[in-house]
């Protein structure tokens, strides 16, 4: 599953890890991450993420 990078702060969303601290269990693909989820490091929304190159 593809990883996504937060463009402002560089945090990488790894679907294998998810973001369990904020209600996203491990194994959640990017498309299934809730639209109101935000970067756990800098707080910007999903629209500020880009696929990892």
């Amino acid at each position: 599953m593809k990883k996504y990078v937060c463009t402002p702060c560089g945090y990488v969303y790894d679907p294998a890890v998810g973001d369990p601290g904020h209600g996203v269990p491990p194994g959640t693909p990017w498309e299934k991450v809730p639209e109101d989820w935000s970067c756990p490091v800098c707080g910007v929304g999903k629209d500020m993420f880009e696929p990892e190159s």
Partner: protein, 398 residues
């Protein structure tokens, strides 16, 4: 606590109580050739409120300015719009001294302040859009995440229409004068500040400007945490930020290089002549005399970047590596450019510069390199490279 320092009245109820740093010339790697100010503001509502503080060594200066208006211990609320230490450094001492009822920050600000001071101060989080009654005055909070830190927040004093914008719309400029109309240097320094601090977050800046426009707020004044208060040109600085954030290429080239025996210098000048002949305003910036932050600043309103480096022990020259690393972090968009350099044996640096430009997203033309000292053919090639960059720039500007 009284001292020689005086507050400056901004509106009937708002006073500037910050500090002037006449000394600073290196602000975390940014050349602050005109020093800076750390602006803090006192709102004299029924519950006096302090918005932001100053860098720790300037705490006494701020307290002295506050004392020219009121007893600092009468301050009931402190708002921290930004956790960076030039605005929060005085907080621990000030909180201990005045024991405010409330210390407020954004949710990210609470985390950041705690991670700076490792204290037991109960900082309260305010939400985006939340309003606070100060007694006779009302303050609204607007989150401005990543403009330029996760914790960044604006506070808006309703009625008077003052937008306290933390680092937003700020600049590094030490002056005895507090207002934009009194400081003719303002646009150069505002551009430099945008180029060096805000540029990587330009998409977020555009979203924030849009949010402000749609919010219906009509700030009469913008009071940032560095530099003059915008009372005359508030609308103009907002519009300039929009232009800078869009990063449209302009008819200007910046040629940066370093040199060991003058050969890369010769290539740089030949390339510059090619650009100039093609009608491009060109600035040649040898890195022995120009700071990385001035290169970033000049690039803000440019469209082309040409980078030259000699090869030293198979590497890019250190000053060039420095500026490339710095510019890469600033994520400037929409540039055309080229790499060039002289070498003695194998010329490894040219590829390194070329790769760095490619990684930065610069659309490059064929690089030019020469062994030892450029001959007429090498200078022609460099001149031609300048002309090709000029042609690419004209296309990009269409």
């Amino acid at each position: 606590m009284k001292g020689p320092f005086q507050a400056v009245k901004v509106t009937d109820k708002v006073y500037w109580v910050g500090a002037i740093d006449w000394d600073i010339r290196d602000f975390h790697g940014y050349a602050t050739s005109r020093g800076t100010t750390y602006n803090a503001y006192l709102v004299m509502a029924d519950k006096p409120t302090l918005i932001d503080t100053v860098k720790a060594p300037f705490t006494d200066e701020m307290l002295s300015r506050i004392s020219s208006v009121c007893d600092p211990k009468s301050i009931r609320t402190i708002v921290s719009n930004h956790s960076e230490m030039d605005h929060s450094g005085a907080l621990p001492r000030v909180i201990e001294l005045i024991k405010p009822e409330k210390v407020l920050a954004s949710a990210m600000g609470v985390k950041a302040l705690n991670a700076h001071f490792h204290w037991d101060v109960p900082v309260q989080a305010v939400k985006d859009g939340e309003k606070l009654d100060l007694g006779g005055e009302r303050l609204a909070f607007i989150e401005s995440r990543m403009v330029h830190w996760p914790d960044s927040m604006f506070s808006y004093l309703e009625g008077a229409g003052v937008l306290f914008s933390n680092d937003g719309f700020g600049m590094h400029l030490a002056s005895s004068l507090r207002f934009d109309d009194e400081t003719p240097e303002r646009y150069d320094e505002a551009a430099k500040y945008y180029a060096n601090i805000l540029l990587p977050f330009s998409d977020i800046v555009l979203a924030l400007l849009d949010k402000l426009a749609k919010s219906g707020l009509a700030p009469k004044m913008i009071a940032p945490d560095h530099g003059p208060i915008w009372r005359q040109d508030a609308a103009k600085i907002v519009s300039l930020w929009g232009e800078w954030a869009r990063q449209k290429p302009r008819n200007k080239a910046v040629v940066v290089f370093d040199t060991m025996w003058g050969s890369t210098d010769k290539l740089a000048r030949a390339a510059a002549e090619g650009l100039i002949a093609a009608g491009v305003k060109t600035l040649v910036m040898p890195l022995r005399g120009n700071h990385r932050s001035d290169v970033a600043s000049e690039l803000l309103e440019a469209g082309a970047l040409l980078v030259g480096s000699p090869t030293i022990n198979k590497q890019v020259f250190p000053t060039v590596a420095d500026v490339l690393s710095y510019l890469k972090g600033l994520r400037r968009k929409n540039l055309v450019g080229a790499a060039f350099g002289s070498y003695g044996w194998a010329g490894e640096s040219l590829k390194q510069v070329q790769d760095a430009l490619t990684e930065m997203g610069v659309a490059t033309v064929e690089p030019v390199k020469c062994q030892y000292v450029p001959d007429a053919a090498a200078l022609d090639a460099a001149y031609g490279m300048g002309q090709k960059v000029a042609a690419r720039l004209k296309e990009a500007m269409r």
